[in-house]
């Protein structure tokens, strides 16, 4: 197994950034979010949870789809040969469409936690099944995921509930698994992509037989994971086929009341993948882009007639039904939550998926 001392990480980042775009947790203005590492940027893999999840790597908040420009068809052309007519022929224009650029270079996502890696699987089921989302696909094909074990999970974590193992990233669908133990980062390639990356930076590493150390670290983490307040959270009653009983339940009316209808939960969530498509008028055309949308917003899928979800209760219910019932129903029981606990930490009104699950358990 390879290892590198923590103090040398910057040179590792530099080395990776030498041949790839490096997307990793970076601290700016006191907060850690994923971003592209540049010389001088403050890489931060100590913070357990970035505020936004790593999903931007494959599904950025904003993405250029294509641009449309007006091209002028001069009067005479529009009018044909008839020069007479040309003079007062209304000028016609035709539209020129230029698709947005797909990612065609490999890039590295560094320091992703097991829960976020699981979230990628969740999104794959959405974007890579028919109809395939070419923008997402190109990013997935070129993204190299370096996962990092969670040295000290926090009380808001409940990934184990969904079978995510914070201790062993190699179980997750990552290309490289890493552990940070006593000031040293331990590095284990899992896939060809991972090997390729490793090869590019191998000279920074030292060889070391650390399996024992890693095993020790794993059991330490597992020990903590067991103590977490929500470790025993039960998903009984949720999952595939529960639509009717859950949708009709009165419990929703109790739990949604405090909801502000903001998008915090959806935007920090690693698995939320709804988006809206918008146009921006430029000099002589429009740019069509997509951006994250939130089912908590009153204008989510709003139509002229207003037939979207009209009350916050409906919106609130939609979000959790989607994560805990609809999605599992369509994806052989896989839940659309990975227990990262970001919503637990960030909801302005302290509402979150855990409370919802518990509320239903109490009100059986």
């Amino acid at each position: 197994m390879y290892s590198i001392a923590k103090e040398n990480l910057n040179s590792l980042y530099a080395a990776i950034a030498g041949s790839y775009d490096l997307f990793m947790p970076i601290k700016t203005a006191g907060q850690t979010n994923y971003g592209f590492w540049k010389e001088g940027a403050e890489g931060d893999i100590d913070t357990l949870k970035t505020i936004r999840s790593g999903k931007d790597a494959f599904f950025p908040q904003v993405e250029q789809l294509y641009t449309v420009n007006r091209e002028i068809v001069p009067a005479d052309v529009a009018a044909g040969d008839d020069a007479e007519k040309a003079a007062d022929t209304p000028v016609r224009t035709k539209l020129k469409v230029t698709p947005g650029k797909l990612v065609d270079q490999d890039f590295v996502i560094f320091g992703m936690r097991a829960c976020d890696v699981r979230a990628i699987e969740v999104m794959d089921n959405v974007f890579l099944t028919d109809p395939v989302d070419s923008y997402y696909k190109s990013r997935r094909e070129h993204g190299i995921v370096v996962a990092l074990a969670c040295h000290e999970p926090e009380e808001s974590c409940f990934c184990t509930v969904f079978g995510v193992d914070p201790a062993d990233p190699s179980k997750a669908k990552a290309d490289v698994a890493t552990w940070m133990i006593d000031g040293k980062l331990y590095w284990k390639a899992l896939t060809e992509k991972g090997e390729a990356l490793t090869a590019k930076v191998a000279d920074l590493f030292e060889q070391e037989d650390a399996d024992a150390k890693v095993e020790e670290e794993k059991s330490y983490i597992e020990g903590i994971a067991k103590q977490l307040p929500n470790a025993e959270l039960s998903l009984e009653g949720w999952g595939a086929g529960k639509t009717d009983e859950k949708f009709k339940s009165e419990v929703w009316d109790k739990v949604y009341k405090g909801c502000l209808g903001c998008g915090t939960c959806t935007f920090v969530c690693p698995t939320c993948q709804c988006y809206d498509i918008k146009d921006y008028t430029t000099k002589d055309g429009i740019q069509r882009y997509r951006c994250w949308d939130s089912c908590m917003y009153s204008d989510f899928t709003l139509m002229a007639g207003g037939q979207n979800r009209q009350t916050q209760l409906q919106r609130f219910r939609q979000r959790f039904m989607h994560k805990l019932v609809y999605y599992p129903t369509n994806n052989d029981g896989m839940f659309m939550c990975v227990g990262c606990g970001r919503c637990v930490e960030k909801c302005p009104q302290s509402l979150n998926i855990v409370k919802v699950i518990k509320a239903f358990a109490e009100n059986k």
């Binding site: 008028t281 430029t282 000099k283």
Partner: protein
């Protein structure tokens, strides 16, 4: 199009909101008295300086304007008697906020100009253009997309 093709000298883009009753008339007077000011200034007619919503000003900057000036009747002369008093407070606060977030002073301006002050109008516009030229292109408030 801040740069004009022939010579690379910086030509600012300036949006002027003029109230219909005083300043727009003042601009007309400047015209009929042939008191020139740079073509960089483009005037938008509004009924009253009180009609100018701060969003218009930010919008202009977003779209690449380098300077925005609001002209209205002198305090006390508003055709609608009070519009410019409200405008005065709105703009004072907005300008102070723009300064606060680091936008260069002088990119925005309010000038009271009556229908009789054609000379003042053209003088003001000349000054303002000079000021904006000295400040250079507006990069801090611009939206890069609208340039292409």
């Amino acid at each position: 199009m801040p740069m004009n093709e022939e010579n690379k000298e910086f030509r600012p883009l300036i949006v002027a909101f003029c109230c219909n009753w005083c300043s727009y008339a003042g601009a007309d007077l400047a015209g009929s008295s042939r008191l020139s000011y740079p073509a960089d200034v483009k005037i938008i007619r509004v009924p009253c300086s009180g009609r100018v919503n701060p969003m218009f000003i930010l919008r202009a900057f977003e779209r690449g304007a380098d300077g925005v000036i609001i002209c209205g009747c002198h305090p006390g002369d508003c055709h609608y008697s009070t519009g410019n008093y409200y405008a005065r407070r709105r703009m004072a606060l907005l300008f102070s906020m723009l300064e606060y977030i680091g936008v260069e002073n002088g990119r925005t301006r309010v000038e009271w100009c009556s229908a009789a002050e054609g000379a003042k109008f053209s003088k003001t516009m000349n000054e303002f253009c000079e000021k904006i030229k000295s400040l250079g292109e507006n990069v801090r408030l611009g939206d890069l997309r609208c340039k292409n």
